[in-house]
Symmetry: C2
Subunit: 209 residues, 2 copies
DNA sequence: TTGACAAGTAACCGCTCGGTAACTATAATG
DNA sequence: CATTATAGTTACCGAGCGGTTACTTGTCAA
């Protein structure tokens, strides 16, 4: 198959980038892993940099598609918080668990996340992606969601921090342990605790559901 | 001064390792930053690897010394949780804020943390250090502290996750923002909220002060 | 049947890497 | 004053890097 090899190059390269970093992976490494020599790579991609660019491109496409299937909006526009008020809290749980599964179990995304972690200080473009996908981005997203449940921006950000911080930590824990399932359970328990606390605790004036 | 140059090499190398990774930093880069040529480096260190080893060694020494000044024990041995019961909760706050300041403001430690982040998947030894210093390690440490406040190991780990997760996330946020002070405030607010919640909420039977 | 094309190969290019060898200026020591 | 140690230098080494070139081979359509 034609496009098949091109695809396998992309996945293999990302796998190696995630393990050894971009600089730590040579064209020989990628080709060798696939069973041929590096010159063949240049039949499919013009440079090592282009492989990286196509990986980033692919990730953006996957992410866009995924945001469309889920009916939580990709970014948090004006008027979104109202939409959330009509949304059962369980949707946040399902969405967050799906996010976690995606960034840990799905091979391409898991490797992409690890690569972002390794390259976040060296490459400004990847630093931006690391922020948007994994650090400040999700934090801001959750802040927008929690905004209408609280009295102030500060309180919303605190809630987002309490919700997403543990999730972010568990990515690292997940990578470093063999008991993957236990980590997922830990996250589920955290989300349940959090939801229970927010629902019973200080609710704002006119919040239905 | 004799040892002075050797020390400057260490700090400069770590600075570059934190920015560009170990592989992304050449001996020429390190020497150039210091104003001489790479051959001079080999008068002080036998190899690039030895520079990295000395950095790790230095970090371990600094950490040990710091754990001694603070009277929170370095690891959590048997009987430690009882000691915690005699300890004002404010000590956890002070200790955690000091930890955060240390890993962000103190140049050597801040760079060391960034380097661990970049090298955690490539080098197994650094992966272990990343776990011990920044991810699973602190989580287990806090779990041990919270153990005597809760009914079960699971609940203790949940508390630790809720306490340390946001802190871990804020390291990343801190690195990526210009408003460093705001991030510190965010952490302080988080800790205060957490302590208030734990103190008012489900306390276990015989816990004084 | 043949000829264009796709997808490989081996060999090579210029460059940078970590590391070494031989040398030199400086300064403290007997 | 001669000597010795220290901390630099320039010049070089072999290896591996990203990338290129010329060539071969299998497939498939005209």
């Amino acid at each position: 198959m034609a496009g098949d090899t091109k695809e396998r190059i992309l996945e293999t390269a990302l796998e190696l980038f995630a393990q050894n970093g971009y600089l730590g992976t040579s064209m020989n490494d990628i080709a060798g892993q696939l069973g041929f020599t590096k010159a063949a790579l240049y039949k499919h991609y013009t440079s090592k940099q282009e492989i990286l660019d196509r990986i980033v491109e692919r990730m953006n496409e996957m992410d866009y598609a995924r945001a469309e299937t889920y009916d939580m909006p990709e970014t948090a526009p004006d008027g979104f918080a109202e939409a959330y008020l009509h949304t059962p809290v369980q949707k946040i749980r399902a969405y967050s668990m799906a996010q976690f599964d995606h960034w840990t179990k799905e091979p391409f995304s898991s490797n992409f996340r690890k690569m972002l972690t390794l390259e976040q200080y060296r490459d400004p473009k990847l630093a931006q992606l690391h922020h948007d996908y994994l650090a400040g981005g999700p934090l801001e997203y959750m802040t927008a969601i929690f905004r209408k449940l609280t009295d102030s921006d500060e309180a919303a950000m605190q809630l987002a921090l309490e919700f997403y911080g543990p999730m972010y930590l568990l990515y690292s824990v997940y990578d470093g342990t063999e008991e993957k399932q236990a980590v997922s359970s830990l996250l589920a328990a955290h989300i349940d605790r959090f939801i229970a606390r927010v629902e019973s605790g200080g609710r704002k004036e006119g919040s239905a559901t």
